[in-house]
């Protein structure tokens, strides 16, 4: 598979995935050259064993085959995922394993020296490979960098130092043969090869514990690698204690190395196997209900936490299958996402464990296979979301109506009724005083008269709050009365037109009333204009002030209640309120049923 194919029909949300398209596409000759080099190296390393019948340790053959398997698996992985450094590291490990076998065959002293210097070069690539399976071969943490630093120190300082004092044949680095110093350096080198594997295994164990299920699958080759490293460390320890190399352990360690490319290949194959499961998914898709889709895709992707987010029409964000709001994760977090498109429209977004970014083809293939089902599910989710909104709005409307009834009851009890009771009481006092103390009775009468006027005023206000009587003669007279009472100088312009349906003109009146109340309370304005215009089959009312602006549409229940009322009529309420730029409230109210109402 080439990387061009990966571009496929889907676009990706993750920045990490975008990287792969930035990787330069390599030429066919580049890969042919590398494969040829790997084959040549393997052949060269095995040639003396196969053809020259020189004496050799059987375990050396294993080591040379291990090198070949690393190089081959590494090249496959590198080719498949050019953006992922793991393939390169594995290829490098393979070639590094060939360095000493190949150079030791050459007679030249320089080659001999290199062979003596770099038998452990493979560790330099192998340890980062094992450590960085979750980060695509990139060293991200301090512990990773420290471990690699120790290996570099061993290769650049300790190994040459040992050569300076080691009386090996053809050693160009030799300064002064000294068995004692060479022995000390050798012990230091062995200590490094015990400490690094143990530390690497520790780091991996901690990562394994913290990893999600798909993350653990990605870590598997790393765990195998850490186990190999521990075997080599054990080999070194046993060597230090018993003074000889344990042949058994060496065999086990050498053979176990194969498990790393094997586990990696299994991971690649597993992807293909999962894609095999795609056929099952595909068969089930036709009869699948929208609610089961997420579980089916989660199974196919091997990520139980998979979430399908559906975009709402009109840039209203994302919702899950039940219509509940969903926020897409940030790039470079623990979750990644990938958009699924159909005919150029995003129909769904798959939100999955970031470790699946290593297998974008699988995510794409599954998204692609399910695109049609996802499109259906999106419509379903959209309907669910609308239903949820409708229910919420209905609950708010009921709550608002209840609140309004409570307000009216309280106003009646504490206002008019209380005043009338007081009036009754005053009349009783007047009755007693009228003969005994006419002057006092007169005072009481004045007070009672005031109380009566206030009762009437309160009742009038209350009635107007419930439903303004002026609306009976149309929207304009009602707005006239409203503007007359406005605390801020207000001008009214109404484009004349047919009589509006009752609910429409009441909604328009309430929008104006609430907006003017807010202007008086918050806007600090000097002038307000209320404008009523008509457009095709609808009326638009706009209340604009020259105040401080910065109104928060979520503040208070008044505007929310108005939005519900306007939307219940199929209209839209908009608020534009830039800081220091005044506030404009606009309500568009269609009245499709106007013809029916006029008859």
């Amino acid at each position: 598979m080439t990387s061009e194919l990966v571009a496929g029909p889907l676009s990706h949300g993750s920045a990490r995935l975008a990287n792969r398209f930035a990787t330069p596409v390599r030429r066919r000759t580049f890969w042919l050259g590398l494969w040829a080099a790997a084959a040549a190296a393997e052949f060269g390393a095995l040639a003396p064993v196969l053809f020259r019948h020189v004496p050799f340790e059987p375990v050396d053959v294993v080591f040379r085959l291990v090198g070949g398997s690393f190089a081959a698996c590494g090249l496959i992985a590198w080719h498949r995922r050019p953006d992922n450094h793991s393939g390169r590291l594995m290829t490098a490990t393979g070639f590094a394993l060939f360095v000493t076998p190949l150079f030791s065959q050459l007679g030249a002293p320089l080659a001999r020296t290199v062979a003596l210097w770099l038998p452990d070069l493979w560790v330099l690539f192998f340890v980062p490979l094992v450590l960085t399976l979750l980060t695509g071969g990139r060293l991200r943490t301090r512990s990773d960098r420290a471990l690699v630093g120790v290996i570099v120190f061993e290769l650049l300082v300790l190994a040459p130092l040992w050569l300076m004092f080691s009386p090996e044949q053809g050693n160009l680095f030799l300064v002064a043969p000294d068995e004692r110093i060479a022995g000390v350096v050798d012990t230091a080198q062995r200590a490094v090869f015990v400490a690094v594997p143990v530390a690497t295994a520790g780091v991996l164990a901690a990562r394994w514990r913290a990893a999600s299920a798909p993350g653990r699958r990605a870590l598997l080759p790393g765990v195998a690698g850490a186990a190999c490293l521990l075997l080599f460390a054990l080999l070194v320890v046993v060597g230090l204690v018993t003074g000889e190399r344990s042949q058994l352990l060496l065999w086990v360690a050498a053979c176990s190395l194969v498990s790393v490319p094997a586990a990696f290949l299994w991971g690649l194959l597993r992807s293909r196997l999962a894609r095999g499961g795609l056929a099952d998914l595909f068969r089930g898709l036709r009869t699948m209900r929208p609610g089961d889709l997420q579980a089916a895709l989660a199974r196919a992707l091997g990520d139980p936490a998979l979430l399908i987010a559906y975009p709402r029409h009109g840039d209203l964000g994302y919702v899950d299958g039940d219509g509940a709001s969903v926020v897409l994760p940030d790039a470079d977090g623990e979750r990644s996402f990938s958009r699924v498109e159909r005919d150029g429209d995003v129909v769904a977004v798959l939100v999955y464990d970031s470790s699946l970014d290593d297998d974008p083809e699988l995510v794409e293939a599954i998204g692609g296979a399910a695109a049609l089902a996802l499109e259906n599910a999106q419509l379903h989710a959209e309907a669910q979301a609308r239903l949820a909104e409708l229910e919420a709005s209905r609950e708010r409307i009921i709550a608002a109506a209840d609140g309004e009834r409570r307000r009216i009851e309280r106003n009646l009890h504490d206002g008019a009724q209380q005043r009338l009771v007081t009036l009754a009481l005053q009349l009783s006092l007047i009755q007693r005083q009228i003969r005994r103390d006419p002057g006092d009775a007169e005072l009481l009468l004045t007070s009672a008269g005031d109380e009566l006027s206030r009762s009437l005023e309160e009742l009038r206000e209350l009635a107007r709050g419930i439903h303004p009587a002026a609306l009976d003669s149309g929207l304009e007279p009602a707005l006239d009365a409203l503007v007359l009472r406005s605390a801020v100088p207000t001008t009214l312009s109404v484009v004349p037109g047919d009589r509006l349906p009752e609910p429409v003109q009441f909604a328009a009146y309430l929008v104006a009333s609430e907006a003017l109340t807010n202007v008086a309370k918050y806007a600090n304005a000097t002038a307000v204009t209320v404008r009523v215009t008509r457009d095709d089959g609808g009326v638009v009312i706009e209340i604009a002030d020259d105040g401080v602006g910065g109104a928060d549409p979520t503040r208070g229940s008044g505007l929310r209640g108005l939005t519900d009322r306007v939307e219940a009529l199929g209209g839209r309420l908009r608020l534009a309120s830039p800081v220091d730029g005044g506030t404009v409230v606009t309500a568009e109210l269609p009245h499709r049923d106007q013809a029916d109402v006029s008859h």
């Binding site: 009890h413 009724q417 209380q418 009771v421 007081t422 009481l425 005053q426 009783s428 006092l429 109380e451």
Partner: protein
């Protein structure tokens, strides 16, 4: 007789205090909310408290809460709750713990000074006072099988006046009947409703209200 008045509407509170003074009561405290009333009662216990049911902060049933607190701490003080609601539940709540010296009266009754001072005197004497409108709502209540249907009109009248907390003496005055006749009616009512005649007037009222509120 010493009276504490609690109502948050100043004009009403002052008018009521003046009326009570006219009727010969001594108004010892005028307050606007429950906690001040309780403080006044503790500091200078009156014989009767007249309290509005709706007071700050929530304007719901603060008056009932204050009444219960006064009954608990000062059982000897009569409490007359004034209310804007014809709500039997509130009235029954007031007397449900077998409290004595308690009354539930509609606010507009204060315009009839005779009725008001009668109610004040009755709760001061440890009696029960239930507003006639509340009793009427209880008597008129629709029941699946209504034992009140077995009563004669006269018996129902007697039952109603009894439920307001009146004595036989008062019933005979109100309904223009001889004391002997009233006694006969009362016996008839209790027999037909299957109730036990209480040892005193209060128990009689409680039994009747409990029956009506069932």
């Amino acid at each position: 007789m010493r009276i504490a008045v609690a109502d948050d509407a100043v004009l009403f509170r002052e008018g009521l205090s003046r009326l009570l003074a006219e009727a010969g009561f001594e108004v010892t405290a005028r307050v606007g909310d429950g906690p001040s009333l309780l403080a006044q009662v503790r500091a200078d216990p009156p014989d009767v408290v007249v309290v509005d049911i709706r007071m700050p902060p929530t304007h719901t049933t603060e008056g009932l809460d204050a009444a219960r607190a006064i009954h608990d701490d000062h059982p000897a003080i009569g409490v007359l709750v004034l209310s804007a609601h014809v709500e039997a539940a509130y009235a029954l709540q007031l007397i449900e713990d077998g409290a004595v010296g308690a009354g539930y009266l509609l606010k507009e009754r204060v315009s009839d000074l005779g009725e008001l001072s009668d109610a004040v005197r009755r709760v001061a004497a440890g009696g029960l006072v239930i507003d006639p409108s509340v009793v009427a709502s209880l008597v008129a209540r629709k029941r699946l099988r209504n034992p009140l249907d077995d009563l004669t009109d006269r018996e129902r009248d007697v039952l109603s006046v009894m439920a307001e907390g009146r004595s036989n003496q008062a019933i005979s005055e109100r309904l223009h009947l001889s004391p002997k006749t009233v006694e006969a009616y009362v016996r008839g009512v209790f027999t037909k409703l299957g109730l036990q005649q209480g040892a005193d007037d209060n128990r009689r009222v409680l039994a009747v209200l409990a029956f009506l509120g069932r």
